[in-house]
Amino acid sequence: MEDDAPVIYGLEFQARALTAQTAETDAIRFLVGTQSLKFENQIHVIEFDDENNIINKNVLLHQAGEIWHIGASPADKAVLTTCYNKTSDSRVVSCAAVWRMPCDLETESHESPDDSAHNPQALELLCHLDDSTYGNAACVLWEPMGDGKRVISLADNHALLWDLQESFTQAKVSSTATLEGKGQLKFTSGKWSPHHNSSQFATANETAIRAWDLRTMSQIYCIENAHGQLVRDLDFNPNRQYYLASCGDDCKVKFWDVRNVQEPVKTLEDHSHCLRTSFWEPRI
């Protein structure tokens, strides 16, 4: 790999949402959601062929709006969730929905003439995670280990646990947790922990990181002032159940041992710009 030239893939719109297709075990495949206020937004399915060091792509239309967050089902590789902004009546509303990709995706080489853009296929809407009563959706988390029937959506200061029924066509809120406090509290991001039997998830709001227990929907621990400025993203170490990484506007990446949240285990200050996301490399 090191000998090969880097592979670059360009999108025509700005994009903020990216996820790996977790259920796909054979190929290295990513999903990217674009952000455009004017045009039809797209989801790019990018497959990286590491033997030939080339990229294959597929473009799917996402007509509902610009995509702010994207999540792939860990059980069914054709199923994904998006959080998107919908502009209607000069109002911007954030929604979340479950989608199915068309199953007959012809993979085409990135290098080939871009003729798929002429008739891109559209996503099939499975159901809305209708959380408008709770607020604007920030992100949707899939249950990491399960059968892909449960998701959590974060909307403003609520965390909603959904049960997806009837092969994803119906979604029902099974329980909710609400972050109480003064001011307008808003979750910025979250992650569902793959440990502890998938019974915990963590959220970030302002400079604090909180962890929640799904069974009681109550807070387990809270890292106040985890970062000097806004916490942008966090992730669990997939192999070590107590380790958590976070990043924020203060240009720092911090690693936490959740058994002792007073001090970070390690702090990286090598970045010179605000950090948006952080991922653990799965092998660590």
Binding site: Q14, L37, R91, E224, N225, L230, D249, S272
Partner: protein, 778 residues
Amino acid sequence: MDVEGDDSALPEDSGRRRKVHGMLKLYYGLNEEGKSNEQPQALDPCDINGPHFDPEIYMNKLRRECTLAELMDQETCMVKQIRSLDSDMQTLVYENYNKFISATDTIRKMKNDFKKMEDEMDCLSANMEAITDFSARISGTLQDQHTQITKLSGVHTLLRKLQFLFELPARLNKCLELQAYSQAVSSHRRARCVLQQYSHLPSFRGIQDDCHAIMDKLAQELRQKFRDGGTSAKDLSECVELLLQLDEPAEELCDKFLSHARSRLESDLQAASPNENISNLTSLPSPTSNADILEFIDRGCNEFVSSLCLVITSYQELFIVHAQSDELLHAFVDDLAACYFSLVERRIQEEKSVGDNSLLVRALDRFHRRLQAVAKLLPGSSVPHHGTEIVIRAATERVKQYLSALQSFYMDSLTDVRQALATPRLSVAGGASHLGGAELLSSLSASILNQIKSVLASVHLFTAKDITFSNKPYFKGEFCSQGVRESLVVSFIKFICQSSRQFCESAGDKGGSTPPILLLLLSRLCLDYETSTISYILTLTDEQFLVQHHTPVTPVTALCAEAREAAQKLLNHYVKVQGLIISQMLRKSVETRDWVNTIEPRNVRAVMKRVVEDATSIDVQVGLLYEEGVRKAHSSDSSKRTFSVYSSSRQQAARYAASYTPSAPLDTNLLSNIHKLFSERIDIFSSVEFNKVSVMTGIIKISLKTFLECVRLRTFGRYGLQQIQVDCHYLQMYLWRFVSDENLVHFLLDEIVGSSAHRCLDPAPMEQSVIEVICERG
């Protein structure tokens, strides 16, 4: 009889006399060299004064050489000289004649006197003979009586002795009754040999037995007394001495003596121990811990050390003949001294107040001095060595205490500074509190420096010349370099740096309780330390303590580097904190507003005014402590500057407006991306320099960057975009003056406007002239 002048009338006589005179001179070795010089002259027969003068030759010579007139003159001259010489001679002869007459008279008188004396001497010798005769006769008669008297006096002495012997038992008994043991023992000792010698005689034997019985009793009593032990050290040693004279076994006595001494000294110690109040054992009033250390050491020395010395001396006097005694004594002294030392050490440890060091130093000095006495008495002893170790430990402990005192003083002054910073802010809003910044800094650094100086002065007492232990090698070398310099001064400076760093680490993420101005102040303090104070303090220390660096010490440069690092870190942190405060405001203002449905902008939003106000007050704050710094050259005319900004921002807005025609979306994105590639990369949280402009630039960079990031996450309506335009123009008008490179502000603000245009549903930018009107009105 020295004749001067020419002597032609008596040339013979004068010549002979001269000859005699010359021969005498020759004999005594006088004028030897002078003579040899004059030899040719003296041999000259024509020299009238010379010894070899020959009148015939002289006359012939005169006659041959001189004219008649000259001869006549010569003749008259010579006659004149002869006449005067004659008269001189006459006077001399007359004087000497008188003397000769008186000498003759004296000799005649002496002759008469001697004759009389001879007669008297004869008479004397006759008398002496008579006396000798009488004396011989008297001694002859007294011979017999003399021998008799001698015999009688011999008998008398013998009888006296016998009487003493016979009276001995009674005398001893009486002594026993009166407890005059020493008298008894000395009496018995005198009689013992005689009694031993004549023990075959029954009467003497009886006396001897009696004496033995009495002496046994006495010994018994002495032993009893010795065993009781309650007597004073002096009594005890006396007791031992007597028992020794009574031929008691020395080893046993030795052991007993030591054990008694030990128990007594231990009771001394117990009484001296601060924790136990045992007053009945000695007169020593037990010092409680509130009695000061000098008093304590004084008592300890007076009681314990002096009795220890007493024991040592008496022991050496009593038992010095025994071979093993020395080791016993050493063990004994070491053992007790160890107890005492542990006591002293405990007391010293209690000495925690760092107010007056001189008391402790004096106490230690006295302690050390008294132990020297032990050293003199017992040369091989390890006691003084241990004593010195205690002193050293106490000194190091003291240094540690001073360090912690300095540290707490530093923290206290920081608290004071915090309070001083907090109070005026409550009463007078704005400027008044900021004016105090520089004064607070100077008073803080002055008070710290004073404190360091006073501590140094206190510690300096340890090395004062009149203190006995100050000439120990430890106090000359290691104490100065390792103790004072390293573990006091250097550690304190390191502590300042470290605590400053802690302000950055803890306060930043957790609550941010440190007021930003304190960070700024500390940063300046550290910087001052780096530039001058550290080297000043270290030079002061080195001078005061004459530090000779045998061991490697922390170099000034390392400390300076550390201080500089701390200053940098503090300043960076200050920038971050202030930047965070402003960004927080900006972020809240962006996030909480519905930008799609906002009304047409009429005013600059209050938040922007607040941002400018805050930036101004920060500028004032920083300006009091840091220099202005260097700006990149910018155009001198501010209005022109505004115009250039206006045009560039308009261009950009226009470009974005154009880009959002559906025909060519890719081109504009590409264009803006290429534009970004070529514009300078901005490090948002980069290190700042130690000047006002750099600090302000850092803060503004952070704030605007956050503003930009927040804008990118929102969706704007037409008026939303216009409001952002107005706000950015307002910021443009006021922020340029704070930063080193105004292009930076331009770039970031353009980026903000560009991003909001990008995120706008209906990007219709506002006319620049309208923006300006609104901004100027605001």
